[in-house]
Structure formats: structure tokens, C-alpha cells
Symmetry: C2
Subunit: 272 residues, 2 copies
């Protein structure tokens, strides 16, 4: 069946290296998981939206996993806001697994406040309390050498550790989460392009590969007795993400009506 490409893949406003990275990540995801995903069920006014004064634009697509897939859903989005100081571009990939597996979720978020500054999160989100489950920590975080990738990026010039202001978000992240602020200074546009094309691109692709191999495409099943807690914990993460991130920021960028539409579509896909 021919499908028109989703508007989320167009990235009409992104700086070129940011766009190239996103296109590459999304096509890897699609090549590996696409055939196991249901068609998008997101309405047209969520696939593409803007605020009344046409200064903010966005696109959000969500595809659920098919029957027998460990994928709960894949969320892909971009937001673009014209600001007096320039433009804000936010791109997000969120790969959520269902309770048939206990393997980590995927989070990638790139918040580019200007051509020379970027805050980013790349992480496999733990599904279990790592203090109580050192085996889980060993399997998904130690043996996968995610720390090496984190250090590789954090040791680059212009890259600083970044902390979310939300203590809940900090708790959700793993101990190898990449959470950094890249600020190349007023004349640093070339540096930023270079970092995005080289180190950042390489690290993001490697983390995605680890998630695809070890998590989204692994046949390891969760214990039936543990599924209740997995679902409870995942629902808390979904609810809190909407509350802290979306419900707080979208109305500011798109006005209350458009924001309510987007949040509603996400809550429906999240089943919360």
C-alpha cells in the first residue's frame, strides 16, 4: 500500500545538519520497525499545525505497534517557533515499548535555541528500579557500553552537562543518559554544524542501534508477574511527561486550543 510520506519527515525549518540527522534516524527506525507498526492514526490537524498568528509550526506523528510487536508506539515530532531573538526548533523521537518486554524505552530530544546552541537528551529510559535490579543495569547499561558514548560526547569542546529543572525527569533518566548543553558562542555556527554532523550524529546513531538490537527487536519476554508494575510505572512516566513537558509548554507556543488538540492526541495514543 502506498502511503504519502508523513509531514513529520519534512522538517521545513530545521538547520541542515539537524535535518540530516533527524532524517537519518527516522529512516533507520522506519527500515527496522516500519513493517511492525500500524498506520498513523493521528488526525490531519495534529500531523500538521500552527498557532493563530502563524509564528509557530509543528508536526506530530504517532504509530502504534502491531499485534505481536513489543513496540507500544513510536512518536516523532518537530516544533518550530519564530522568536524575536531567532527561532526555536525542537525535534523529538520517543520509542515506547509495551509490557511484553521490560527493555528500556528510547528518548531523543534536540532543543535548538539558535544556530549555535542546542540542548539534547539521548537515553534509554529504564523500566525498573535500577537499585533493586542490578542485573537490569548490567544488561542494558553496563554491557552495552553506553557510558563510553556519553563520555565521548561530553568530552567535546563546547559541550556541558545539562540538568533538567524537573526532579521527576531527572529520576526518569538512566545513569548513562546523555543530557548536555552545546553552546558554541556567538560566532560558533560552523562549530555547531561540525559537532552535529560528526560526534553528535555518530553517538545518536549508535544509541539508536543499541536500542533497536537490544530492546525493540529483542525476543526477551517480561515475567507475567511483573507486567502489572511495568504498566503502572510506564503510565506514570507518560502522565508526568505530558504534565511537565507538553501541558506546560505547548499552550505558550500554540495557544490553548491547538495545544489541547495535540495533548489530546498524545493522551489517546498513550492510553492515559
Amino acid at each position: 500500500m502506498h502511503r504519502d510520506p508523513s509531514p513529520v519527515l519534512e522538517f521545513p525549518y530545521l538547520p541542515a545538519p539537524h535535518r540530516e540527522l533527524m532524517v537519518s534516524l527516522l529512516s533507520t527506525l522506519d527500515a527496522r520497525l516500519g513493517s511492525h507498526l500500524l498506520p498513523s492514526s493521528v488526525p490531519a490537524d495534529v500531523l500538521s499545525f500552527h498557532n493563530d498568528s502563524a509564528t509557530s509550526f509543528g508536526s506530530l506523528d504517532i504509530r502504534s505497534g502491531g499485534h505481536d510487536s513489543p513496540v507500544d508506539f513510536i512518536l516523532e515530532s518537530w516544533l518550530h517557533c519564530k522568536l524575536p531573538t531567532g527561532a526555536l526548533n525542537i525535534t523529538t523521537i520517543f520509542g515506547f515499548l509495551n509490557a511484553s518486554t521490560e527493555a528500556p524505552h528510547l528518548l531523543m530530544e534536540f532543543i535548538q535555541g539558535s544556530p549555535t546552541s542546542l540542548i539534547l537528551f539521548i537515553d534509554l529510559l529504564p523500566r525498573k528500579d535500577l537499585v533493586l535490579h542490578p542485573q537490569y543495569l548490567a544488561e542494558f547499561y553496563q554491557d552495552t557500553h553506553l557510558e563510553k558514548l556519553r563520555q565521548e560526547l561530553e568530552n567535546e569542546r563546547y559541550v556541558q552537562p545539562y540538568r533538567s529543572s524537573s526532579l521527576y525527569i531527572r529520576s526518569v533518566l538512566s545513569p548513562t543518559a546523555i543530557a548536555v548543553n552545546i553552546n558554541c558562542g556567538a560566532d560558533g555556527e560552523n562549530f555547531m554544524e561540525e559537532i552535529m554532523r560528526a560526534q553528535l550524529s555518530s553517538v545518536a546513531k549508535e544509541v539508536l542501534q543499541i536500542w533497536l538490537d537490544k530492546c525493540a527487536c529483542s525476543s526477551a519476554q517480561s515475567e507475567a508477574s511483573e507486567r502489572h508494575v511495568l504498566v503502572q510505572r510506564d503510565n506514570l512516566i507518560k502522565n508526568k511527561t505530558v504534565e511537565i513537558d507538553l501541558a506546560a509548554n505547548l499552550p505558550r507556543m500554540f495557544g490553548p486550543n491547538v495545544a489541547a488538540q495535540i495533548v489530546g492526541a498524545i493522551q489517546k495514543a498513550f492510553r492515559i
Copy 2:
């Protein structure tokens, strides 16, 4: 009953501001909790020990909580090693609560590698999975404004965030954990003394006060149904701490025999 002061209180090798801070913290602890603690049960060769070549010295004291106290034990220690490059001084306060309460444990560790450099950890260690228990996060971490104290110290000149190389230790720490490296440079002895006497001392004392008020002296009881998991989680923290921290480092500093004695005394007090 008169008790001789514990050798752990002497700190014969510590730089003066480090000693003053420790004496102040330990006397606050003792004034508030002392009457609820049993006498030390640690043998003389653990209260005071050194390696064969008399280049490393240490003192470790552990007092268990009395009947009806929510304190499991208070561990206080100092280690001193003469090194070719100077001296290493490590001081530790560990306040562990029992399963009658779910309130956080206290961890304070100051690792002074030279008169101008210090790595330190100050934290209330969560007893529960914070992702699954946002109420717990709110009660002990948000409402206590620990983040303000963390930022206060981290924003000081010469202070950098520090990450334990152990992913397990990172998982044990709370999202407001103070984990920093203070490095004042070759000629920075005065700066280090100033930071220890002013900002560090103030922050450490405030965190201790919060722990005493909200955790060690609170009458809030844990749910009987939750105690089994609390004990299981606490035992994992105890076991992993011994494995990662002590069993890995003490033999290097004190030789295998002295190290085994110290680790044995800790395991006995930890009941692991």
C-alpha cells in the same frame, strides 16, 4: 555513664577546615541522636588501625540505633594515606535508617586528595523508586528545597559536577545529590579553606538538619506491607557499597588483612 570519646572524633591528620566541619557535623548528630544509639560495638582494632608500613591510618565507628529508634546505624570514619604526592584524607558519615520508616538515608563523603582538591558526596539516599513514587520525591526532595542547596554549592567558583565511575552508585543517588569536584589549582589552598569554612560547611549543615528533622527524627511509619521491599533494597545498597567502594579500595590502602578486618566489622553492623 562516662564514655571515652571515640578515636574517630580525633581526626589527627585532617586539614583544619575539614576537621572543624567534621567535628561540627558529628557533634550535631550526637547531640540529636546520641541518646537513642547503643554504645559502639566495634572492636579496638577497627576503631583505630593502620597498615604494616605505617603510611595509612584509619578509624571507623559504628553505633546501632536503640530499640524504638528508626536508626539502623550511624557509621563514622576517617582514612589517611601518605602518598608520594602528598596525603589523601577521606571522611565519611553514613546514617542508615531501618524499615520502620521509609525516609531517606544520609550519605556524606569528603575525599580530599590534596590541600587544594576535594571530591564530595552529600545526599539523602532514596529508599524507593522515585519514578513509581512521585509523592515520595515531592515530600523528601522537592518540599525540602534540597535542589537550592545543590545549586548554591555547584555555582561556586572552582566547583564542578562530579560523576561516580560506578553506574550503580549513580543510580543510588537522588536527583538532588551533591556530587562535585572542587579543584582550586596549585596555589588555591586559601580558596579551598574559604570554601570549606563558608559555602560547603553551610550546605552540609543544612542537609544534615533536613535529614535529622524530616528523616531520622520523624515519627512517620512505613506501611507494614512495604517493609519487605525496603529491607531488600537497603540490603542491596549495603552489599553493593561494600563491594564497589570498600572491598575495592581498602586492600590497596591497608593491605588484605587489615582490610578484611574492617570490611568484616562493617558487614556485621550491616547484617549482610
